[in-house]
């Protein structure tokens, strides 16, 4: 399988290939279906993606620090 000529070995290659494609760019995907090579051509669209970021609160309490540490600390 290839995306815009880039060989796809695993999911990380797909991610990298898609990231390199800008909105409305031409995309060519080469795959094999039923032992036959198939080329799919299309134009990339766009959609509005929601991104979330976790930020630290401005004045964390001791309890907040205990809870955050507790999440990631193995049980004693």
């Amino acid at each position: 399988m290839r995306i815009n000529g880039r060989a796809i070995i695993d999911g990380t290659d797909v991610t990298a290939a898609v990231r390199a494609i800008g909105p409305r760019a031409a995309v060519v995907i080469d795959v094999v279906r039923d032992s036959q090579p198939v080329t799919i051509r299309f134009l990339a669209g766009t959609y509005s993606r929601v991104r979330a970021q976790l930020r630290d609160v401005s004045a964390p309490t001791a309890k907040m620090r205990r809870i955050r540490a507790g999440l990631l600390r193995a049980p004693r």
Binding site: G11, P23, V27, V38, V50, R51, A52, V57, P60, L71
Partner: protein
């Protein structure tokens, strides 16, 4: 008199002895089932689905050449009474033998290594649900299986060997037999101890060499030790990680897992399978022992629905994140970033306000059409609900209790003969956390589709979430496409 009756009953109990042979041409597994004291008639069934993979898989398409003979070798009548079952007239014989082949018809696909079921020149994986038929009415009968493999091939399975270096293995019943995938062939073996319990990783990379095995094994040891630490003990005598050099994904089993990972991935990053390894390993508790009441003993002929897959799969995903961070494989920043990514994916999916976690669990078997084509993963929903519950429990108990306590409570109360119902799950979380009432939480966010007030929960750990919108290209976009061997272009969502 009682003893005589018991002996008579014991003598009439069917005994099943399976044999799986790898033929020279590798075209399919040759399967033989020898049944002593067969019922008359004897109905043999190939499962329609496999626990852990909640979809019908049309196994019957892979079964061919079903035939039966008596102990003396005389042919017995066989007729197929459904796509997945065959009825044999045992004609009063004390022993019958049923033979069939099990393998994909697509020979290219059949030889391609993957984490479920294949057979190629140097190795193969025997997937129980697609290989072993059960004797209807006698799934609880003990079974033995012999693997007849080419010279030099080895065998790795979670089943109990009957002797050292045996090719014969025992299972207390059919459920255990098919919950023990078996790797056959040439493969690498790494033994290690985690919390004093023997573990091993068997790795089938084909002709490829091993990459940084010390890093790889250290990853598995840390995952195993950390997960066992949550519960205090391992629920098995030994555990086998089965890695095959194929496509991604994994499937949980009673004391083993099969994980597909490309050799290229292992070459680039020996810890490339850490997330799936942690997820599948945590399943050794959550779903293989702590289970919804519907998931066992299994009805293999029909789909089995539960509203609690979000817990069994999604909370397992949350614990995979937790385990990797606690094991030092991911940093606290990695953990927070992973959570943020999941919250963003959830918030960006309009289905979150249409399909509740219980609904997405219940409809796992169905077309998206049953939910008006709104689709949201119960993995994602459960992962985030696990975080929210953990934070809520810690907040209400000043960090004295956590979701770990709920897990331990469930393991103590619902890991035996009977699993938990929806209400018992709520009650278990309540009980483990000193009586805090989670009924309203379930109503709003588990049975319901209310918008989650993220910061109300995240602040307990000193976080707040900030959302932004970004225009981006993605595979899930409206495009016009055409295939060079197909029809002219048309506009269609892909």
């Amino acid at each position: 008199m009682l003893l005589v009756l018991l002996l008579a009953l014991q003598n009439s109990t069917p005994e099943l002895y399976y044999s799986v042979t790898v033929p020279t041409d590798r075209s399919a597994y040759l399967v033989e089932v020898q049944i002593t004291n067969p019922p008359s008639p004897s109905r043999l069934v190939i499962p329609n689905w496999a626990p852990g993979a909640y979809r019908l898989m049309d196994s019957w398409q892979n079964i061919r050449a079903v035939a039966a003979v008596s102990g003396a070798g005389d042919p017995l009548p066989v007729h197929q009474d459904s796509p997945i079952s065959w009825v044999i007239d045992s004609k009063g014989n004390a022993r019958i033998t049923v033979r069939y082949t099990a393998g994909l018809r697509d020979s290219v696909q059949w030889r391609r290594p993957n984490n479920r079921w294949f057979l190629r020149a140097s190795s193969g994986v025997v997937d129980g649900p697609r290989t072993f038929m059960y004797l209807d009415g006698w799934k609880q009968a003990p079974a033995r299986v012999t693997f007849q493999v080419p010279q030099g091939w080895r065998i790795a399975t979670g089943l109990v060997p009957t002797t050292i270096d045996s090719t014969i293995f025992a299972a207390p019943n059919y459920d255990v037999l098919i919950d023990s995938p078996t790797l056959l062939g040439h493969f690498l073996t790494y033994h290690f101890s985690a919390a004093g319990t023997p573990h091993r990783a068997v790795v089938d990379l084909g002709e490829t060499r091993a990459y940084a095995p010390a890093v790889f094994v250290d990853m598995l040891r840390r995952i195993s030790t950390t997960a066992i630490g949550i519960f205090g003990r391992a629920p098995y005598k030994d555990y086998t990680y089965i890695f095959v050099g194929g496509r991604g994904g994994g499937l949980e089993h009673l004391n083993s897992t099969t994980i597909g990972v490309t050799t290229e991935t292992l070459a680039r990053y020996p810890r490339g399978a850490e997330a799936v390894s942690a997820h599948e390993f945590f399943h050794a508790w959550n779903v293989k022992r702590i289970r919804p009441v519907e998931l066992g003993p299994f009805d293999y002929e029909h789909e089995v629905r539960t509203v609690n897959l979000w817990w069994s799969e999604g909370v397992t995903d949350y614990y995979a994140d937790v385990i990797l961070a606690r094991a030092g494989l991911d940093s606290p920043e990695d953990f927070a970033q992973g959570i943020a990514t999941s919250i963003g994916n959830y918030r960006g999916n309009p289905a979150r306000l249409r399909v509740s976690p219980e609904r997405s669990s219940w409809t796992a078997w169905d077309s998206p059409a049953v939910n008006d084509s709104y689709v949201i993963s119960y993995y994602l929903q459960g992962q985030l609900l696990g975080l929210l519950l953990d934070l809520a429990i810690r907040d209400s108990t000043d960090n004295q209790k956590s979701l770990d306590d709920a897990m331990r409570y469930l393991f103590a109360h619902y890991a035996g003969e009977r699993g938990f119902t929806r209400d018992e799950l709520v009650g278990a979380v309540d009980s483990a956390t000193g009586g805090h009432d989670f009924t309203e939480f379930w109503r709003l966010y588990v049975s319901g589709t209310n918008e989650i007030p993220w910061n109300d929960y995240l602040r307990a750990a000193g976080w707040e979430v900030v959302f932004t919108n970004a225009s981006t290209a993605d595979a899930l976009v409206k495009t016009s496409w055409c295939a060079s061997t197909g029809a002219p272009s048309s506009t269609a969502p892909t």
